[in-house]
């Protein structure tokens, strides 16, 4: 049950997204430097990827797991640096391993104690983050100068993105998308009825791990741009916005990807207008603005729509009462 308005919205977003650079050039006098183009491209690629993957996190009620996992990546960055120096690959692999360990730790706490999910997430989130901070402060006291910029993984530093990073983002992003498409049916079943999936003989433990791994990969790819604290916003905001417009998973994922790409690209462009506006936070603010718009305006579901319907109902009820009274 795909809905036409969702397709239209998607087309409009894509058109607007493509016009973004020329428009901002014409209206605000933005200077299209190489950096701006690379960052905008990286932002929209990352937005599309995290929007698509984030849908599953949101639908499986694991939004906060994303938050915990992205915080948990920080010590991995620091250890990667200690072992291999400043190589992006090593840092990202370290981040992925740490984040994955955080995931296992949450699962272990939940399995073996009576601590509930929220507290388990909180424990992992803040202790991994503290470990990362402790390691980073130690690294920063090293005499060696190559540690400069490591703390950009905390808030994200878009200006550090170069062309090879885009290639990496594109390549791994494509791989994630292919995996999503290959296991589409299984993921869909797992998301909406995990018990049925298990009863139906799916290896739900394995699939669950695969899906969580995709989330971890997405988070790790986004660290450089959005940072460990804000990454979860980019993961879930497009998905929540897309959820308001459609009831079909296919459409939701596509729309979330489009919304994410739009937020990533336009956030990058807006932050390029003023050198004091950091890119990562700006992308999050744009993404949240999209959520706000969707929640108010989405037809059939949004707040505005609900108000109108209530008013209409009330009027009908009143007129009917008058009729029966007369």
């Amino acid at each position: 049950m795909t809905e036409r308005r969702a397709w239209r919205l998607m087309l409009a977003l894509l058109a607007l997204g493509f016009l973004m650079l020329p428009l901002s050039q014409a209206l605000f006098g933005l200077r299209l430097t190489y950096t701006v183009r690379v960052v905008a491209l990286g932002g929209s690629l990352l937005g599309a990827l995290s929007g698509a993957v984030g849908c599953f996190a949101v639908l499986r009620r694991e939004s906060l797991l994303g938050d915990a996992l992205s915080h948990a990546a920080l010590p991995g960055v620091a250890i990667g640096f200690l072992l291999a120096g400043r190589q992006l690959g090593a840092l990202l692999v370290g981040a992925g391993i740490a984040s994955w360990l955080g995931l296992r730790l949450v699962a272990a706490i939940l399995r073996s104690t009576r601590i509930k999910q929220d507290a388990a997430l909180g424990i992992v989130l803040v202790s991994f983050f503290a470990a990362g901070i402790a390691l980073l402060t130690t690294i920063q006291s090293l005499p060696d100068a190559s540690q400069a910029g490591l703390d950009s993984f905390i808030f994200g530093q878009a200006a550090a993105i170069i062309e090879s990073d885009i290639a990496l983002l594109g390549g791994i992003g494509l791989l994630v998308m292919v995996l999503l498409a290959l296991f589409w049916k299984e993921f869909k079943l797992l998301t909406f009825d995990a018990d049925f999936a298990r009863a139906d003989g799916l290896r739900s433990g394995l699939l669950d791990a695969l899906l969580s791994t995709l989330v971890v990969i997405t988070i790790v790819l986004g660290l450089q741009l959005a940072g460990v604290i804000l990454m979860v916003g980019l993961l879930i905001a497009p998905a929540i916005a897309a959820r308001q417009w459609t009831h079909s998973l296919e459409q939701m994922v596509l729309l979330a990807a489009a919304l994410g790409a739009f937020a990533g690209g336009s956030g990058a462009v807006i932050s390029a207008l003023d050198s004091d506006i950091p890119t990562g936070p700006m992308i999050i603010v744009v993404a949240f603005a999209l959520v706000l718009l969707s929640i108010t305006l989405a037809p059939g579901r949004g707040l505005l729509w609900n108000q109108l319907r209530q008013r209409k109902n009330r009027r009908q009820l009143r007129s009917r009462r008058l009729e029966s009274g007369a």
Partner: protein, 504 residues
């Protein structure tokens, strides 16, 4: 605030001397530990209720908002030309109000049914934080709020940000030319005018006072103008703020203990009995916000969450009673803060030097890591709390991993015993006796490995339940009694009439 600090210092001076008090407060370690422990006590007490209500992550949402609140209040106050200090009561109240506001906002977002709770919180954290970061990097240019302070706070510098209090010899010293300490110097009045040197004969002199003026007590003592030292105490602002918050928290919990307990465990009953769960939970959130703001200076806006979540979670694994949690969690948090300072300086739990650990890593794996360790104090406090949590998780007598493993092994063993005893009991004295109970093939009936069968039989024989007779297993009288007792017990538990024993 100043009056409270003064009263506290006067109280303390009854027990210690001025020098001792100043020496204590001037040490970074002591001040940091005291501030950390106070944050831990507040956080653990409030966090216990949050944990039991399933709201632990709300403290995370609050701490993120509180950053935005602090930044906004800071900008407003500096914009209005007031002195904005992160320990000013107005700033604390304003920022705490922002925290409570967000809780209400996410709750209403969730109630609209459009966004689920986890998604609403997951949206709120990064958004509020993002806005705060944009504001900080765009508008704020101040030492107290920069990105590093937001992350880790400055608990190591808490000792340096003080209010000074004077208790005796506090009159400002005014030195007039008649004062005995006044130093008169001669000054040439017409030297410059006539461009002559003071040695010239035409030079005219007046006597002026070289050190006249108004001196504060501290300046006067420093200049050596006083015979007796003024009694000055420099009291760190963070300690004062956190002390007030601790008193508030403890008082709130002491006064509303019964109500809090009831609303935490059975909100519906509380409401039907005429309490107001909503108002109480709002008050709880307000206190959480206040503590998060008060702790911002010391531990930043993210790590403070640990003080709310980790100690109560550890206490939750140790006790089943609310009063027990409220006693244990502040202790755990306080221990984390206390040993955390040592950890930052490279000493794990005050005994084990980390340098040795790194050196061992270097030699074992051939790495070349630097062995010196000097790390963030607040992050180390959190790490220590986490270590304590892990220790509790493993060793807790009731819910720990070890206890769990022992309990599981015991019940597995008991189950194996019951199965074998029941099998022997069923077949003993029946025609199939020889096939079913032959010791060498017994394992096939359970589909166990022979080794496992052997182990179980050894245990049963050691217990004196089973013996071997002509290559077959049979129950000893003791084993028989055990089987009957167990059977009776199980029938009674499941409320089934006992047919066998009714027969003669």
């Amino acid at each position: 605030m100043m009056g409270l600090e003064r009263a506290l210092i006067e109280l303390l001076l009854n027990f210690v001397t001025l020098e001792q008090l100043n020496g204590f407060l001037r040490s970074p370690q002591h001040t940091a530990t005291v501030v950390g422990c106070l944050i831990a006590v507040c956080g653990a007490l409030l966090g216990s209720f949050l944990l039991l209500r399933g709201l632990s992550l709300t403290s995370d949402a609050i701490s993120h908002t509180v950053l935005l609140g602090i930044v906004l209040a800071f900008l407003l106050m500096t914009g209005a030309g007031w002195e904005a200090d992160t320990s000013s009561p107005w700033l604390i109240l304003g920022a705490a109000a922002a925290g409570v506001g967000t809780v209400l906002l996410t709750e209403s977002l969730q109630r609209s049914g459009l966004v689920r709770q986890d998604a609403a919180l997951g949206l709120a954290f990064p958004l509020l934080f993002a806005i705060a970061v944009i504001l900080v990097s765009r508008y704020v240019d101040d030492v107290h709020i920069d990105e590093d302070a937001v992350l880790v706070g400055e608990i190591g510098l808490a000792w340096a940000n003080t209010n000074s209090h004077c208790f005796a010899h506090c009159e400002p010293l005014i030195i007039t030319p008649e004062h005995p300490a006044a130093q008169a110097t001669r000054q040439c009045v017409n030297c410059r005018e006539l461009t002559i040197s003071p040695r010239d004969e035409r030079a005219e002199f007046v006597s002026v006072c070289g050190n006249c003026g108004v001196y504060s007590p501290a300046q006067a003592w420093g200049a050596g103008l006083l015979d007796e030292a003024p009694m000055l105490v420099f009291f760190p602002k963070s300690i004062a703020v956190m002390l007030v918050l601790t008193v508030l928290t403890v008082g709130f919990i002491a006064v509303f203990y019964k109500e809090l307990k009831l609303t935490t465990f059975d909100a519906a009953l509380a409401k039907s009995l005429g309490f107001h769960p909503g108002a109480l939970s709002l008050a709880l959130m307000a206190l959480v916000s206040l503590v998060a703001v008060g702790a911002f200076d010391a531990v930043g806006s993210i790590l403070v969450v640990a003080f709310f979540i980790i100690p109560p979670a550890a206490a939750y694994l140790l006790t089943d009673r609310l009063s027990g949690m409220l006693l244990l969690s502040p202790l755990i948090g306080g221990a984390g803060a206390f040993f955390g300072y040592d950890l930052a300086r490279g000493l794990l739990f005050g005994i084990f030097p980390i340098e040795k650990g790194i050196a061992a890593l270097n030699t074992v794996f051939g790495l070349s890591l630097r062995e010196a360790w000097d790390s963030s104090i607040s992050a180390s406090m959190v790490l220590t709390m986490f270590l304590i949590f892990v220790l509790v998780w493993i060793f807790s007598p009731r819910y720990g991993l070890l206890a769990l493993a022992v309990r599981r092994a015991n019940s597995r063993r008991r189950f194996e015993h019951q199965v074998v005893l029941a099998h022997i009991h069923n077949h003993q004295g029946t025609p199939s006796h020889a096939i079913e109970l032959r010791a060498s093939t017994l394992h096939q009936h359970f589909r166990w490995t022979p080794q496992k069968m052997n182990r179980v039989m050894m245990r049963l024989r050691a217990l004196g339940f089973v013996s071997l007779e002509a290559g077959s297993a049979i129950l000893t009288p003791r084993g028989d009694a055990h089987v009957h007792a167990f059977r009776k017990h199980m029938l009674a538990v499941h409320n089934i009439p006992d047919i066998d024993s009714a027969q003669p």
